[in-house]
Each structure stands twice: as C-alpha cells, then as structure tokens.
Symmetry: C2
Subunit: 334 residues, 2 copies
C-alpha cells in the first residue's frame, strides 16, 4: 500500500475539494491509502465513503494569504500542513499532497521533511501543458530567486528521473530556458549552465529552448532559475487567461456567434480547454526533499486534486527520491 | 513634413510588404514623406504610386539570419539598413522603420545613430496587446541581457514620454515586472529598481506587476531587464501560438464544429484574433538613441508595416527624443 498524506485544509475550497478528490483517487487506485489532516468535523461533512481513508484531526489551518512562511511553520507545528509534513518525516506516510500556499509548502518541505543532502536546492516543478498533450516539467518555477549553474544541473537530473517515472518518457530530453537557441546566449549563469548540462552524462541535453517554443519543443524538461521560471509560468498563465476571456467576450458580443457556439462548437471548445488545462496533468512537485510532495493549485477542483494525488502515487511507486539519492551516492563512491 | 526612412529590404517579405506598407502610410498621412533604401529595380516592381516616396538605391541587404551584428554593421556601410541609419544620423530623415533582424537593427542604432548621452542603455520596447485594446509598452525586451536598477529607471522615464505621445495616455503608469506584487519581491536588482522607481518624481509608479496580470493591469508600461523581458515576450508569443493552433485543430477535428465556425463564428474569431494581434498597434521601438527607430516584425504584412510607419511618425511628431533629452538637461542644470 502507498500511503499518501493529504493536507485536507489547504486550498481555496478546502476541505470540500480535497475530500472529494481523495475519495475519487481511492476509487481509481486500489493500492493507495490516504490520511487526511484537518478539521474532522468539517471533513466528515464531505467524506461519504471512508474506505482506505483515515483522519488525523487538527484545528489549525495555514492562511492562504500567509506572508511569513518561515514564521508560520516554526511557530505552529499543529497546522494541517505541518502535521502532514511531520507524518512524512516520521515515515507514517510516503508522500504529501497540499493545495496550500506555495511558499509555505516549500518552507515546510525544507524545515520539516528536509532536503536530500546531495541536492543543494529545493525547487518547484509544475507540469506545463504541451502541444502534444504529454506535458513538460518546468523547474525551478519559483522556490529560488537565484540559482547557480550547478544547481540548475542538479535539478535537470532530478527532473529526468521524475519525467521517466511520472510522464513515462524513456529518455527525457532537457532544455535550458534561454533567450536564443545558440550556445553562448543568455546571462553568465545560462552560459555556465549550458556548459555543465552539455557535459552531464546522466541527462539527455537538448540545448537552449526559447519560451516561444515551450509548447512545441521535443524537450520534456525545461530548466532555469526560479525567477525566470516563475516569469515564464505566469506569462503563460496570463496569456491563456487573456485569450480565453477575449474569446468568450467576442462570442458573447455577437448573437450569431453565440448561437453557432451553442449549437456546433461547445464540444470542440471543451476539448480545446481540456488540452490547455494543466490540472489534467497534475500539480507542481517540490523537488529535492526526502519525500515526494505535490503542491496542487490553490483553486483546484476535485479532478485536479485527484490528479495531484495520482502524481504523488507515481512518485512513490517510481521510487524517485530513492533513485536520485542512490545515483548521487554511487557516483560519490566511484 | 515628417521624413521617414524605410529599410525597404529588411524583413521576410521585403521589398513587397515594405513598399505596399509605405504606399498605405502615404495615403493615410498627408504630413509624411518616405525614403525607401534598397534595390531600386525590385522596389519599383511594387511601387505603383510614388507620391511623396523617393528611393535611395543600394544592392546590399542584411541577411535575416545574420549572427554577427557588430561585424555586419562595421564592415558594410552600404546595406539598406546601414544607409537608412546613416541618413537619420545626417538629419536627412527624422525616423527609421526596419523589419530587419532585431539585433542588427539595435547594433546599427547604437553604432550609427548613437545613444542619447543621458541614457546609459538602449532598449527594445515592443507594444504588447492588452485586454482593453490600448496596448502596453514592454521594455527592455532583449537589447541588454542584464541591466542595473538605474538603467531600468531611465527606461521607465523614456517609456513614459513614449506612452504619452504614442499611446495617448495622459499620466502613464509604470509597473515593474516581478514574481510577486509586494515590495521586496524578486532579485536584488528588482528590489533596488523598486526603490528607485518609487522615488522617481518624473514617473507614475504602480508597483510590481506579475506577468499573469500583464494583459489586465492598469499599468501602461512594464519595465524589466532585457533577459526577463525577452522571456516574458516569448512566453506570451508561444502561448498565443499554441492556443491558436490547438483551437484550429479542435475545430477542424469535428465536422460539426467546422460548420458552426464557418457559418456563425468566423467574424467573431477574426475580431478576436485582431485584438490579440500586436501588429494592430505597431512595432518595437528602439529607445535611447538620437532618432526614433521602429523595428517592425520580420513577418509583418503591409498593414503591420504601415502601423510601424505610423508609430515612427507619432514619435517624431510627439518630439519624444527631444523631450527626453531636454528633461535630463534641465535636471542637470537645476
């Protein structure tokens, strides 16, 4: 049995969607067991089937607008998030899923679950949609404002293991996010990272990738520092939203278009929206700590949250953390 | 008369679209005169009306894939781009429009037209679409891989003058591109830039803007370094392309949707595409040099190229360069 700890109170619509998502995941995967951390009474409002689901009660919830992540985690050991993390550290659960505030999840991962000693940095790795529907891992998307080239190199290897186990790609290709495709482009850190990645035999390096190719490149992994990754992710998010909103407005503005949409296009548009929706693929992984942690989007619906649980299950089943650690240790002893 | 120099041979479809765009601009604006620099014979194939248009012949064209911009500009003074720039430097024309390769245009601006002494950096400033249709100025979008906070501050002021004259905004608001909205977010350079921008009385500072708000914010100008701006611009570009391609695919994949589209939605979709199309608003401005220069997109159609000419006209008419210079000089003498 794979034991997954769920921060039932994290996210904009908790505990409703976390509980519904957990029940969906239980139905779908017979090899998982879920522990929900949070307000027992509120959880039970939605938990109509507790098969392979147990509850660890706590009153405290991390505020979604929390501005002092370190203070929060250091002071309150009894929040649903901190308790789930502690259970992971104690080996009571094998992985964590939370839709709580990103920076607090990262800090809790750091302070409670702890970093893999061989990895110098912890990174946030969302899966971004790709044109072929397989998804791509983007990291770091915001845990570290600055990263050295060697850190980017560590992340590239970590993500390679993840891509094999979670995306099911046999020889995942790594692209370095950059402002041009030729070698020598970008800032000093990008030029250095290019050099190190090129010589890293543990990964399959595909060179520089410009963000305009993010959806079309054959790279499965896109690496960069957390500032750049965050700018990229939020640019994609904003453009997709603007696109959707403008499209809706134009359809609504014309009676003819509204009729055409309702009669003929609704299904095609839904399929289209689904392809562009990252929640289809999963949440963001917190890479570099001792236990797999998946950060679901704050506004996840039950389906997206279920997918984040599925992803946590795959990270455990694929023994991602163990594989990273053992590779580093065997290299060291060589 | 406003005299505009056009690099007739720059761009993927030159000289056809540059000549057609020039003729359109002449029809639309009675106060401009255009000089086309390039192959006279090829230009004349398309120039059916030479009212207020003259030609300066040259055989040489800058290759669209040129990888050595500095070498190109230093060695070949007789390319259509270099000759247009030289004419601007000599005061024969008041502004330049080119759809040639961006980095070569920037280098030519630097080496031939020269930097305004008070501006320490030259930046590329495209106009990106916004939800309300007014457009926003993003800079630097790629001329400088790294910028100091004081350079970002210079660009914010320059763009403020441009936004007044070109976008017609009376008190343009400046946003600093960042990974969070609160003060103190981002890298050291972003934190420093925030501080300087906040205290700059020549601009109206609106704080940090996350790229996901780029289309929705009430800021008219978004400032950052050239690496970040380029990542952002190319992320927007790639997402818009992926979105369009996926939408097309889904409509084509269903017969019902194809019929619905053809009968009812074509017009709404065209209006939508128009709103998202930056060519409606203009090209990228090269900010910080002694003459207004507009870099049209390499794949511009005549309409987009005409719009770039319109924009150059506005920059001259609004006396943008003079206003920037006189503000700096009057500050100095205070």
């Amino acid at each position: 049995m794979i034991k997954i700890g769920v921060d039932a109170m994290g996210g904009d619509f908790a505990p409703k969607i976390t509980v519904l998502g957990a029940m969906d995941a239980i139905k779908k995967y017979s090899d998982i067991e879920i522990t929900l951390f949070g307000d027992e009474k509120r959880i039970k409002e939605y938990l109509i089937d507790s098969t392979r689901i147990n509850i660890v009660h706590t009153d405290r919830v991390v505020d979604m607008g929390e501005h002092n992540p370190i203070g929060e985690i250091r002071t309150h050991k009894d929040s649903s998030l901190a308790m789930a993390m502690q259970a992971a550290r104690d080996g009571v659960v094998d992985a964590i899923v939370s839709a709580g505030p990103t920076q607090v999840v990262v800090v809790a991962a750091h302070l409670i679950v702890k970093r893999i000693p061989e990895m110098k940095k912890v990174a946030i790795a969302p899966i971004i949609p790709s044109f072929d529907g397989r998804g791509k891992i983007l990291l770091d998307s915001g845990a570290n404002v600055e990263l050295k080239a060697e850190h980017i190199n560590d992340l590239a290897f970590y993500a390679t293991v993840v891509a094999k186990e979670v995306l099911g790609v046999s020889n995942p290709k790594v692209g370095l996010v950059n402002i041009g495709t030729e070698e020598g482009k970008g800032r000093e850190v990008d030029q250095e990272a290019y050099e190190i990645l090129k010589n890293n035999k543990k990964i399959n390096f595909g060179g520089n990738v410009e963000p305009k190719e993010a959806f079309f490149t054959d790279c499965d992994i896109l690496v960069t520092d957390g500032f750049t990754g965050n700018i990229m992710m939020k640019s994609i998010e904003g453009t997709a939203k603007a696109f959707k909103d403008m499209l809706k407005q134009e359809i609504k503005a014309s009676k003819k278009a509204s009729i055409g949409y309702a009669l003929f296009m609704k299904k095609a548009m839904k399929k289209f929206a689904k392809r562009f929706d990252a929640s289809e693929i999963g949440g963001a992984m917190i890479c570099g700590v001792n236990v797999p942690i998946v950060k679901a989007h704050g506004s996840s619906d039950p389906f997206a949250f279920m997918n984040a649980i599925r992803q946590a299950r795959q990270l455990v089943e694929g023994r991602v953390v163990e594989k990273v650690i053992s590779t580093y240790r065997s290299e060291k002893s060589e």
